[in-house]
Structure formats: C-alpha cells, structure tokens
C-alpha cells in the first residue's frame, strides 16, 4: 500500500519534470527551426508593465493583461537579452534534467561559464522573471530558488524528491527551531499531517514563542514564519498546504499597514508575480493585528511615519482594498495614525498573545 503511494508520488514528480522539460524543448525547437530556415527567431513576452497588470476578481489575484511585447533577435537592442533568455532556458533545462537546484545569485555567476554577460544580478534576476512570464511557470519549477529565510514547524510528514533523498521522509516537528523552507522542502511531497490549520506569522521572534508554547499541539496547527513579506517558496508551500492537504491558512501580522499587505500578498499575490498563478491562497484569512485590535486591546503604539501614511493612501487605490475588513482596517489605521507590533501584547505578559489573543482570533476566523 505504502509502496504504491510512493510510486504514485514519484510518478507525479516525474510527470511534472517531464512536462517542464517538454515545454522547454518545444520553445527550443521553435527557435532552432527559425535559425535553420535563415530567419531571426523571435517570441512574445507578456508585458509586465504596470498598465498591463490587472486584478482579476474571479481568480482573486493580480494577473497580466493581454499586452505582450515581441522580442526579436533581429533587433540589436534586444539581441543581448534574447540571448540571455535563451541561455537561461538552456541552463534551466540542465538544472531540471540533472535535478540540481540553484539560487538567483548562482544563476548570475553561472552565466559567466557560457560567455553570457550580465551587468549585475538584478539584470539576471529580471531575465529569470522573463522566463517565468514566457512559460507561466515559477522559477522554482526550473530549480531556481531564492535564498531561504522563512521556516516551518509542525506535525507534517514530508517525503523528499530531490536526488539522493528520494523516498526519505521527515516530520517537521522534530526540530524546535523549525525547518527552513528551501528547495528540498518546497519540492517535497506532503505526505500527511494531524494539523487542522496553518498559522503564518510575520515575525521570527513570535514563531519561536509559538513553538515554545506548543501552539502546534494546542491548536493542531502548522506554524510558518514568513520573515516579513513571504518569499515565493513560502507562498508556494502555503498554497500546497491549502490545496493538497485541505488546510485553512490564517495570517498573523504586525498591526500596521505593511502587516495588512503581507497578508494580502499571501492571499492574492503581488504585482511583481502577476505572471504566475501558483503562488496565492485566495482563501487565506488575515486575523490581525487589526487596527481595531489596537483600540480593543489597548496596545502600546508607535506613531506612523510619513511613509506609513503614504502607503495607506496607495493601498486605498488598490481594488483589493475596496471593501470588507481590508478597507475598514485601512481606514482605521489612517484615523489612528498609529501602529502596533505583535510584541506589543507582551505588555500583558509573555504568554498573553498565545493564551488570550490567538484563541479569540482563531474563533473569529471561522466566521470570516
């Protein structure tokens, strides 16, 4: 029974790899044919300019519109980036075939082995996003990962798929510091869990507190430290926990406008990744700290800076903040002109947040 399951999973991983390779091959074949016929190869890239990013209410995320730009190797100003993109596809193809992972920085340096020049890492990062946009696949699918900075803790069994670890399993509550969400974890199969909810928390300090207070057990939860704005690998993992394991996701952030937006990005994506559809958890719920909580719990506050206030006004123009709790809390932030951090609950004692605030919020989340 178990062997079957493993076989099934590895088959699934193989299929995914196969489809990525197929897609790269078909892109490569088209360019090959153009060259062989004496034509300058070209392809179209969806435009990632602000004017082409629209909020899709049905999908509940930002997506790219229909505008696309033609990148042609005939155009001398595009030839360089055309070649860079070709190289990246070639490099991603090798990474995927050999099941090796790479980081953004790695990619930047690897280019130099092939006489491909990038001015700096931001140029190569940009080409990586181009590849994502052309293929509509996140770079993690091509084995390109960000530097890990977020972590996970809780009763979750995973099974690695990376070379050398295939079939090896791990329970994510074995290490009290949590496990960093890197390539091997992001690509691992999610086997089973006793948890009933995922709590994403903005701050590393609170994450540690939650582990200490055994929130995983008390509330049957998996705890994820997003480390501020959630990295894409973390968002991928959140989505998989929601979609594959059927776990609801709640987000706990600082009581400020940035916190509110961290939750929103997990829920509906960012403009920067509008070309991707596999990074959002539209059902995720933001439970706090709300602006209204600041008043309700009489939390110690800090005055908002000018940039905080400006950010509030910017978000008011975002269609996602047009109604509901998102609009309401934004308005209150603007009225208070003050903010509070998660740590502010420590005023009432170190465990106040886990013993009082969290239970109330979890209860409330059911009705959201």
């Amino acid at each position: 029974m178990k062997t079957n399951k493993i076989k099934e999973r590895s088959k699934k991983a193989d299929e995914k790899q196969k489809s990525i390779l197929e897609m790269l091959k078909s892109h490569g074949a088209k360019i090959y044919d153009d060259l062989d016929h004496g034509q300058f190869p070209k392809f179209s890239i969806p435009s990632r300019s602000v004017s082409n990013i629209v909020y899709d209410k049905k999908l509940r995320q930002y997506i790219l519109g229909n505008n696309a730009a033609l990148r042609s190797s005939r155009n001398s100003s595009q030839l360089r980036s055309f070649t860079q993109l070709m190289w990246l596809a070639f490099f991603a193809n090798r990474l995927t075939q050999e099941k090796k992972s790479s980081t953004l920085r790695d990619v930047y340096y690897s280019s130099q082995a092939f006489a491909i020049e990038f001015e700096d890492q931001s140029e190569s990062d940009n080409i990586i996003v181009d590849l994502e946009a052309v293929t509509s696949k996140p770079r993690e699918d091509f084995h390109i990962f960000p530097e890990e900075r977020s972590s996970i803790f809780g009763d979750l069994n995973i099974e690695y798929t990376i070379p050398g670890y295939e079939g090896k399993t791990m329970n994510l509550s074995n290490h009290p510091d949590g496990y960093s969400i890197g390539p091997s974890l992001t690509t691992a199969e999610l086997v089973d869990t006793s948890a009933e909810i995922v709590i994403a928390i903005e701050k590393g300090g609170l994450f540690t507190r939650f582990v200490e207070e055994q929130i995983d057990k008390k509330f049957k939860s998996i705890i994820i430290n997003t480390g501020g704005q959630a990295p894409r690998s973390t968002r991928t993992l959140l989505k998989r926990l929601h979609d594959e394991m059927g776990l609801p996701v709640i987000v706990l952030t600082d009581g400020d406008v940035y916190g509110e937006h961290i939750a929103m990005v997990i829920k509906s994506g960012s403009a920067n990744a509008a070309h991707l559809r596999e990074l959002t958890v539209p059902d995720a719920k933001w439970v706090g700290v709300w602006a209204t909580d600041i008043e309700k719990y009489k939390l110690p506050t800090i005055p908002m800076t000018e940039s905080d206030i400006k950010r509030c006004y910017d978000l008011q123009k975002d269609p996602r903040y047009e109604d509901g709790i998102w609009k309401k809390e934004l308005d209150v932030f603007l009225r208070l002109k003050r903010k509070a951090e998660l740590e502010a609950f420590s005023k009432y004692g170190l465990t106040n947040i886990t013993e009082k605030y969290l239970p109330q919020k979890l209860e409330l989340a059911k009705s959201l």
Binding site: H27, I31, L35, D36, S76, R80, F114
Partner: protein, 623 residues
C-alpha cells in the same frame, strides 16, 4: 617761470623701432627668431605672388657655435626664386625703416616691409653683424650687399658690394641674430608646415640647426589670381576720406598766364593775328564740344569779362562767388580788385559752376566708389535726401556728415569688390586639407566678400574629420592673409566662434578627430596686437566666421549621422556574429538536436549588405 627750456628732438623711424621693438614681435630671443623667419618667408612669398611666380622658398637656420647653450647667435637665411630687388633699391629697402613697395588698397601678407627691416635691425643690435643680401633681377647678374643700419640717421651703411654672374633670379637675405631655437623650434616647424598648407602652390624647405630637413613640395600648380588695387567701398568710408575725395574731384580755375592763353589759342585753332573778342567767342561756340575743360573755363571767363587776349593777360582771377553770382579779379593795369556780376542764365555760368562746385552727387558716387551704377546712385540720393545733381563742392560740413552716415546705412550697395583680395579658393584648400590630414570627411566653403569699416574681407574655411587627424579636437588652424597665426590663440575671434558652437548639436561628441581651417583675407586684418597673432572680434567678421562654420557644421552633421548609421550597422553585424552562434548552441541542446542549425547564412547575409551601403554613402559625401 622755469628757466630750463624744454628740449625737443625728432627721432628717426629706426630709432623709434629700436626703442620699441616689442611692438613688432622682437621681445625675446625665442619670439624674435620666430618673427624673423616669418617676416623673411612672407616677403619671399609676397614677391613671388605679385609676379605670378610659383614660389620656391628655402629657409636655413644655422648656429654660429652649435655647442653653446641657447640663446645664442644663429644665421638665418631665406632664399627665393622671386623677381629680386633692383640693386639701386637694395640699400634703402634693407637699410632703412618704412621703405617698401607695399602701399595701396590690396591684400598682401605684410603691410610695409617693416618687419624684415626690424629683423635686420634686431640682428644688428644683438650680434653686430651686417645683413647679406643677394639679388638677381634678370637671372644673369647677381648683386651682393653687406649692409649695416645707421640707426640714428635711418640710413644704410654699405659695408661691401660685389657683382657676379648667376643663372637664377631671386633674392636671398641672410642675417645673424641672437635666438633660442630649442624653444622656438616647434613654432618655426609648425609655421613652415602650416604655411605650406595655405600656400599649396609653393615649395618650401627648411634646414634646421640640428641638421634635419623639412620639405613641403607644392601640390597645386596654379597660383590663385593676384589681387588688384581697387576704389573704396561706400560702407568703409568716413567724413575725412570724403573730404579728400571731393578735393580730388574738383577742378581748379586755370591760372590765366601766357602759357594758358597760348594753349587756348592753339585749341581754338587761331592764327597769330589778333582777333576781336566777338570773333574769338564765335569761334569758341562752334568748336565748343571738342574743347578741353580748361579751355572752356577760360572762354567762359572771357565771356563775362568781355576781354580779348591782350586784356586778359593783364588780370588774375581771384574768386568765383557762385552763390552771389560775382566774379572777382585783380587788374594789374589799374592795380585794384574788381568784380562783375555773372548772368546765371548764360551757358558759360553753368560751365563755371560745374568747375567750381565739382561733380554732382551721382557722378561722384559712380566715379569714385567701387560697384555703384547710375541706378544705385539715384536710389541712394533718394535715401539720403540729397538731390542727385547736388554738387559735391557745395556741401556744408553738416551735409558731409549726413552723407557719410547715409553711406554707412544704405543697404543696397553691392558687396565690396573682392578683387583686391586673394583667398586661396575652395578647391586648393580642400586639396591641401586632404593631403595634410588624409581625413575621412572634408568640407570647405568660401563666403561671399563682406566689409568691416569699409575694408573688404573674405572668410574661407575648411573642416575635416577622421583619418589621420589626432583626437581631442576641434584643432583650429587659423590663417590671416595666408599667414598662419600660432600665438595668442586664446583671445582670437575664430576660437571664440568655435568655442561658442555646441558640437553636440552637430553629432560631434567626445574626443573627436576633427580640424577646422579658418582663413580671413582682408585689405586690413584687425589684429588685436602689433605682434599680428590674433584677430579682434569685429561683429562683421565674427558673423561671417559663424555663418561659414555653421554651413560646414551642418555638412559634418550629415556625415556624422551617416557615419553613425554605418557604425550602427557594423555594430549590429558584430552583435549578430557574437550572439547568434550562442543562441544556436543553446537551442540545439534545448531542442534535443545533435547538429547545430544552419545559422551562418543569417550572419553572412547581414554583413555585406550593410558594408557596401556604408562605402557608397561616404563616397557621395566626400564628392
């Protein structure tokens, strides 16, 4: 009251220049050596130009004692194949200051041959050696003089004079002077080099003190047309000049003496026998049209005086008072002054009026100035508010000032006659630039003649880019009347105009390999200083320079943009050659193929098309 009497002395011109030699560019051994070279070379070229001889000029500088450190005495010799100087003029021409052949309104390199004498004078006061002049006018005999200057008396002292046979005409001048070749050498070499660029019809050689030989053979076979002496242009005239011209244009009342009476008799065809007054007048009336002015005037006077020749010889005309229509004369017989009334209706009255009051305005204008016809003269009369028949002799001071002002302001005069100028011409200038700099692009222009303060001038200019020209331009080569100007570059009007230009607008960027050759020709170059190295910024000259430069800059911009396109095409081809193989390599592996696609024809097809287009465009631009 002071008991000491102020003492007044007159000093000789050479004494004056001896005390003020800085004025002529003899301030120190470096500058003096350079100035001396310039003066002799320019005199040699001027002499050949004026006789239409293709110049061969040899310049030699030799140290008297080569081992001594600079400054030290050098022997400077300049030899030419010009017309030579007649032996009887040599002592004066080379042994006095302000003696020369260059006077008159036309362009020449020097003005009065002053500089050469200054060089001789400087040589004498620094080394006490005579100047050696060898001259042959006919190519058969050569006169050789050794001369010293008596500075106080401004007189030549002939030390030695010999004559021998020769086979070539021409002049050779040799002086010994204190100089500093180690410092002046660069400038002298530049001077010779730049001179040969603007004098392409001359062969110039230079043997320098270190034994190096610099040769600049002629590469143009024709001498540009020689300038002619011309009448002044109305825009360049002042009241004093008009007053002098009026005096020249007036006719004097002839003195009535025996000689004049004899002339009148002869012209009238009278025999010796006496004729009555009436008979004389009758004869004159018949022959009137053939009589010269002087005779007519005498007849007119006789008609009013009613005298025959006998009585006529006993009077002197004192005055013709035209406004009061009176004739005053002195009667020797009665020893008293008398006057009679003149009848203004008489044709003889008109004759006298014409004579005394000079030419009418229109005649004055057409006869005394260049390029004014009767139509323009009449238009000008209307413009200035004078009647066309207004007699020049009747103008009051105030009217003269008004006339002078109007002459300046009237804009319909034709541009000054440039025949007094000797520009090099577009074709030789372009040829010179191409030979000297081997550029990728050349353009030249000669502006129409213009005038500043009545002195005509012509600006010609050339521009060149690329080729052998070194970067860091624009390098400006300044010329005035075919003289290269090497010193005091900073304050020159040409530099000002060049520096005012926004080269970016003409697509010239960075550190361009780029030269500008500017030649100003004029009967008088407005030098800022007596050293004659930089031209003052007269608005008229500045304007012409600007227009010339703008015209050329536009051509350069057109070339630059074509060149830019060609460079782009080349760059693009290079990019293809660099990147397409990489793309081929990557897509081969991506597509899972073994053999690379046949992309070579893609690169090959791009290359030749772009290149041939470029060559063609460049060629058209240079034609």
């Amino acid at each position: 009251m002071s008991l000491i009497k102020e003492k007044f002395n007159q000093i000789s011109p050479s004494e004056f220049f001896y005390s003020n030699r800085d004025l002529a560019g003899f301030s120190n051994p470096t500058r003096s050596l350079y100035t001396a070279v310039r003066e002799f070379v320019e005199n040699a070229l001027d002499a050949c130009d004026q006789k239409g001889i293709l110049p061969d000029v040899h310049l030699t500088i030799k140290a008297v004692e080569p081992e001594k450190p600079d400054p030290k005495p050098y022997i400077l010799t300049v030899k030419d194949n010009g017309p030579g100087v007649d032996s009887k003029h040599i002592p004066l021409a080379f042994g006095t200051v302000l003696y020369g052949s260059k006077f008159g309104l036309k362009q020449a390199r020097g003005m009065f041959g002053l500089g050469a004498t200054m060089a001789i004078l400087y040589g004498q006061i620094t080394t006490n050696k005579p100047v050696i002049v060898k001259s042959s006018v006919d190519g058969k005999l050569q006169d050789e003089f050794e001369l010293l200057l008596d500075i106080q008396k401004n007189k030549p002292v002939i030390v030695k004079h010999t004559t021998k046979e020769t086979s070539k005409h021409g002049l050779s001048v040799s002086i010994c002077l204190e100089g500093d070749y180690s410092k002046a050498g660069n400038k002298i070499r530049d001077y010779v080099y730049e001179t040969s660029l603007i004098t392409p019809y001359a062969s110039i050689t230079f043997d320098d003190p270190k034994g190096e030989k610099f040769q600049h053979p002629r590469f143009v076979k024709d001498i540009p047309p020689a300038p002619t002496i011309i009448r002044p242009h109305p825009h360049g005239i002042d009241v004093e000049r008009i007053r002098r011209m009026i005096v020249e244009s007036q006719f004097e009342i002839p003195t009535i003496d025996d000689a004049m009476i004899e002339k009148v008799r002869k012209d009238l065809g009278l025999s010796k026998k006496n004729l009555s007054f009436t008979a004389i007048m009758e004869k004159a009336r018949k022959k009137w049209k053939t009589l010269p002015r002087q005779v007519r005037v005498v007849i007119a006077l006789m008609s009013f005086l009613k005298m025959d020749f006998e009585k006529l010889s006993k009077i002197t005309i004192e005055d013709l008072d035209i406004p009061n229509k009176k004739l005053h004369y002195w009667d020797f017989g009665e020893s008293q002054s008398k006057s009679i009334d003149m009848d203004p209706e008489s044709q003889y009255y008109k004759q006298l009026t014409n004579t005394v009051q000079g030419e009418p305005l229109t005649t004055f204008l057409t006869k005394r100035f260049q390029r004014i016809g009767p139509t323009t003269a009449n238009k000008f009369a209307e413009f200035s508010g004078f009647k066309p028949e207004k007699r020049m002799g009747t103008m009051s001071n105030q009217e003269l000032v008004q006339l002078s002002d109007s002459l300046q302001k009237f804009e319909d005069f034709l541009a000054p006659d440039p025949s007094c100028l000797a520009p090099l011409g577009e074709a030789p200038l372009e040829k010179g630039i191409k030979k000297f700099f081997n550029p990728d692009f050349t353009a030249v222009v000669q502006r129409p003649a213009s005038a500043y303060s009545g002195f005509p001038f012509i600006v010609e200019m050339g521009i060149a880019y690329g080729g052998d020209i070194k970067t860091g331009g624009p390098h400006v080569y300044r010329y005035a009347n075919r003289i290269p100007l090497l010193y005091d570059e900073g304050s020159d009007v040409v530099l000002k105009v060049v520096n005012d230009t926004d080269w970016g607008r003409y697509k010239v960027k960075g550190d361009p390999p780029f030269i500008i050759v500017s030649h100003i020709c004029s009967t008088r170059i407005p030098y800022k200083t007596a050293g004659k190295e930089n031209v003052a910024d007269r608005p008229e000259i500045e304007r012409e320079l600007r227009l010339a430069l703008q015209f050329l800059s536009r051509k350069l911009a057109a070339y630059m943009s074509k060149r830019g396109q060609a460079e782009m095409a080349k760059k693009r081809a290079n990019l293809y050659a660099k990147y397409i193989p990489l793309i081929a390599q990557f897509c081969t592996e991506l597509a899972g193929k073994k053999k690379e696609p046949n992309y070579k024809k893609l690169i090959d097809e791009e290359m030749p098309v772009e290149t041939s287009k470029t060559v063609k465009e460049t060629k058209v631009e240079n034609e």
